[in-house]
Symmetry: C2
Subunit: 222 residues, 2 copies
Amino acid sequence: MAGGRGGVLELAVLGSLHETPLHGYELRKRLNALLGMFRAFSYGSLYPCLRQLLTDGLIIEDGDAAAANADSPIALPGRRSKIVYRLTAEGKERLHELLTQAGPSAWEDESFGVHFAFFRHTEAEVRLRILEGRRSRLEERLDGVRTALARTRERLDSYTLELQRHGLESVEREVRWLNELIATERRASPPDEERRSAQEGTSRAPEPGAGTTGRPATPEDN
Amino acid sequence: MAGGRGGVLELAVLGSLHETPLHGYELRKRLNALLGMFRAFSYGSLYPCLRQLLTDGLIIEDGDAAAANADSPIALPGRRSKIVYRLTAEGKERLHELLTQAGPSAWEDESFGVHFAFFRHTEAEVRLRILEGRRSRLEERLDGVRTALARTRERLDSYTLELQRHGLESVEREVRWLNELIATERRASPPDEERRSAQEGTSRAPEPGAGTTGRPATPEDN
DNA sequence: TCTGCCATGTAAGCCGTTACATGATTTT
DNA sequence: AAAATCATGTAACGGCTTACATGGCAGA
C-alpha cells in the first residue's frame, strides 16, 4: 500500500503536475525520463499515490481533455480512457511546503535528485541549504570510511580495494560538483550584508551551467 | 521485522563472517566501513537477521571468546557480554550458493556493491557475468533516458538539464569502469577454446588494480 | 559521577515493489 | 487477426528504518 504521504513520490508527482496536467501513464514516463539515472517508480506505487492525492484534494481530474496533447493528431474519442490530473490550489501550497523543507528528507540519496529536479521552483536560500546539506552528508561519509580504512590492520583483497577506490572517487566527484553548484548559487544571490538579518523572498535562478561532475552514493550510520 | 532471507544483508553477513568470526556490533561497523559509500545497515535489521541465520543453522555462537581480538589488550572479563558468531558448514554452502547466482539480484543498484565486495570468493565465470549484467543494466538506463530526452519537445530548465548531465556522465563513468574490469577479467581468465564446452571450476583472481572510475545510479522500468 | 561508546535487542511502520488482472487502442 | 503498447488499477508482501528499551564498561 503506497499512499501519497511522506515519500518522494508525492513531491515528484506534485512537481510534475505543476508544470503541466498529465495522466498517470505519461506522468510515470516523464518521471522516469527525468530521474531515470537515479531511481524509477512503478505503477503499483504511482496510481495509489494519485488516488491519495485526489482524496486529499491536492489534485483533481481535469475537466476537459484539451491538455498535454501536442503529439496525438487524432485522439479525443469522446470516451474518457485517460484520466488527466491537475494541481489544485491546495496542491500548489503543499508543493511549496515540500520544496521549502531543507532537511535530511531533501538531501538523502533517495530524495536529493527529486528535490534538485524542481529547484527551479525552490527559493534560493533553500536551494543553498539543501546543496550544503548534501555536501556535508557526503563528507561525513567520506570521513567515516576513510578513518575506518585507516584503522584497518589487515590489508584487503584487490576487489575490496577497487570497490573502495571507486566509491571514494565517486563521492569525491559529487562533492566537487556540489562545490561548483554552491559557488554558482552564491555568485547569483550573494549573502546580503549582515548575514541572517534581512531575508529576501524568492530570487532568480543562477543558471548552473558550468559544472564538472560527481555522483550520489548511500547512507552510513544508524 | 527484518529476517535474513532474500535481502543483501544475508550475503553481507555471511560474507563477512566467512572472513572472521565477529559479534553483531563490530559486524555492522565492518560492513559500513566496507560498503559505506554505497549503503549502510542499521542494528534494527542486523540483529534480527543474525537471529534468523542462527535458527536456520547457517551461523552459530562461537564457543570461546578467543577470536577477532587483536586490538583490546585487556578484555576477556569472563562474562560473555559479546556474542561472537561463526559460519557453519551449511552457512558456507549457502554463501557459495548466493555468490554463484549471476542474476538481477546480483547487479541491481542495491546489491551490486555487496556482491562485488566478495568477488574474491566468487568464481571467475560468475564474476564476468555479473559485471556484464550490470553493464547492460546501465546501458539500458542510458538508452532509455537518452531516447526519452530526444523525444522531448519543450526545452528544460537549467537545473533539470544539469541534473540530467550529471546523471548521464556518472553512469557513463561507471560503464567505463566496468569495461576495464571486464577486460581485466578476460585477460586473466581467457574464454577457453570452444566457448561453453569445457567449463573450468574456480580460477585465480585477475587483480583488478588498473581501473579509472565511474559510479552507480538507479532503476528504470516497472 | 557522569558522559559517551560498546553491545543487544524489539515493535511498528514506511515506502515502496512484484505480480496479477483487465481492457482499449494502435501497429504490423 | 495478432502483437504491442497504452492505460488503470489491486493485493500481498518485502526489506529495511526509526524509535524505543536496556545495560555494562571506559575515561573525563
